[in-house]
Point group: C2
Chain length 340, copies 2
């Protein structure tokens, strides 16, 4: 492949003139520029990205790291991210961290190695180890969780949705329909995200003066299969059943729905159900699934905007943005007793 040296040689001029002409930075007589462009064409020249990067130290790439590429929620986020990044000429690198700390560390390492200029990262378990690595980074990072290090002075930004409130509102929604026996299927409780959502559930019960019943609480992993398994163990075994169940995300709610079908439990006739994420599928399931909308696309767009602002060097004041969840009520959570 031809280089600027080849062009320079062919035209009997210096490489730097070629560089200037091609990049448009620096002086160059219109006539020489024309000849250079012509020669570049003839030699089928294309600038080498790695050489450019080595010199300029920018990659024009942004890394998007997600815990589970199978979850459509992230696809929605990608729309928002890409929408913002594309006009700036940034390319998007996708990485599935498989909900594993070592893979998250690998994503961070990619940034250290300058694979990308910045990163948007979704994780369910920020801990000292990954947060510290992120804080040591020189590149801007935007997380999608609220996180404040114990030590303070964090170098990353974040955009977050108050999911705790979201789950609490689902509980309120159930309580307002006279439900007392409310179950919960969450993510891992020892992870930040899982804990937060669980707290929303706990607070909701507390607020209504209901006692928490351990039998009705299950731990899942945010996948459809996880929701299914949690559903089975919640619904079978002849234990008294809850009247309503909150799932920490839609994927698990779908799995739960499948478990209900198998156990011949009708939703919403026998049991009310709601999820979180408001995937587009949720408006089509049977019954249509009530869900807390986190506005994935808005999260993506906001995160990308924050990142771009940082990449463009503005030392912005805003280092975090809070978004509010919205409860989308559909058939699955509306008791036939009240709304016949």
């Amino acid at each position: 492949m031809a280089t600027i040296y080849d062009i320079a040689e062919k035209l009997g001029i210096s490489p730097s003139t070629v560089s200037r002409a091609l990049s448009g930075r620096g002086y160059c007589k219109e006539e020489t520029r024309k000849r250079i462009l012509q020669a570049a064409e003839e030699l089928d020249y294309a600038p080498d990205q790695s050489a450019k990067m080595l010199k300029t130290r920018v990659s024009n790439k942004v890394l998007f790291a997600v815990p589970d590429l199978c979850n459509p929620f992230y696809f929605d986020m990608i729309q928002g991210i890409n929408e913002v990044l594309d006009p700036y000429g940034y390319l998007l690198i996708l990485m599935d961290t498989k909900n594993r700390l070592d893979e998250e560390k690998r994503a961070i390492q990619l940034l250290r190695e300058k694979y990308a200029d910045g990163m948007i990262m979704v994780s369910f378990h920020f801990c000292d180890e990954n947060i510290e690595m992120i804080n040591r980074l020189n590149s801007p990072v935007v997380l999608t969780n609220k996180y404040v290090s114990p030590v303070g002075k964090d170098r990353f930004h974040y955009v977050w949705v108050d999911t705790q409130l979201g789950i609490k509102e689902v509980v309120r929604h159930f309580v307002s329909q006279g439900m007392n026996r409310i179950g919960y299927i969450g993510g891992r409780f020892h992870e930040q995200t899982g804990r937060e959502r669980y707290e929303g559930y706990r607070e909701g019960l507390e607020e209504a003066g209901l006692t928490l019943h351990a039998d009705w609480v299950q731990e899942g992993d945010y996948t459809e299969q996880g929701g299914y398994l949690a559903g089975l163990s919640l619904l079978s075994g002849g234990k008294p059943l809850p009247e309503a169940v909150v799932c920490a995300n839609d994927l698990m709610a779908y799995g739960f729905l499948r478990a209900c079908e198998e156990q011949q439990i009708r939703v919403p006739e026998d049991l009310l159900l709601a999820g979180m994420d408001n995937l587009s599928l949720s408006s089509r399931t049977s019954p249509k699934l009530t869900s807390v909308s986190l506005r994935a696309e808005v999260i993506g767009r906001t995160a990308a905007e924050m990142l771009v602002r940082r990449l463009n060097g503005s030392e912005q004041r805003i280092d975090n943005v809070k978004l509010l969840p919205e409860l989308i009520v559909r058939d699955s959570s509306v008791s036939r007793r009240l709304a016949p």
Copy 2:
């Protein structure tokens, strides 16, 4: 950020020794290696990707270019692609070409500039211009359409699904239920993909001895909105209605379904409907949508496998793979008259 020179200096040795120790290629005494690793740690060293790339000429990245990032079909493909690429350490760069030739050319240009080592590209309109650019490329490319240049001796590979057959089978499915008035909503007919699928429709009619009725054929753009608009113009205006409609993809079928609702036309009671792509949503729509499965994930996996093989330098014999579509019959296409 520290470089191998910093490490070398700190230890009083040469940069090349450091390079050898770190890359694991070439001789290095175990003791020196230990000291180097130690020093690297202390200096918070990370290898610079661009420098490495400039020297080695490999980027460890694969570009995936799609015509519409909003279509979940590509998300399914991404699963398959990533599944194959990840174990080899390849990163995935995503690009939305917005169904525009200039953006497709930009994607190809990215490859010329060595942003990635190879590319998987989905396009609805391969033409001399982009195919020629692809053929001029030194990097391997896998397309997801059957395409043979008039000139022959193409340098790309492709994996393709016989969508023409798929659409034809939908028509057969309708005909077998005694339908005579069958409509079609396709992509742009002057694009390859659009033409192929349309041909499937035409052949299906021909096979059944039915005449093609121009009023029942509409052109869309593979989006939900496009299907909706095409649906409106097909259904309104007091023209005689078709008994069954084939959509060239599911997204348009969803839009068509919306148009039906508005026009108070019941599916499948008043009209049978089927799409193509078999998006996961299709098993949840109301009514559940009959669809031709193209196995997006398999396409992705296969394309990635072909690409990896090329990237690893094997001059493979197989330069194209054909996959068969599968008709998934659901409620939307089954006439109540036959199956009460």
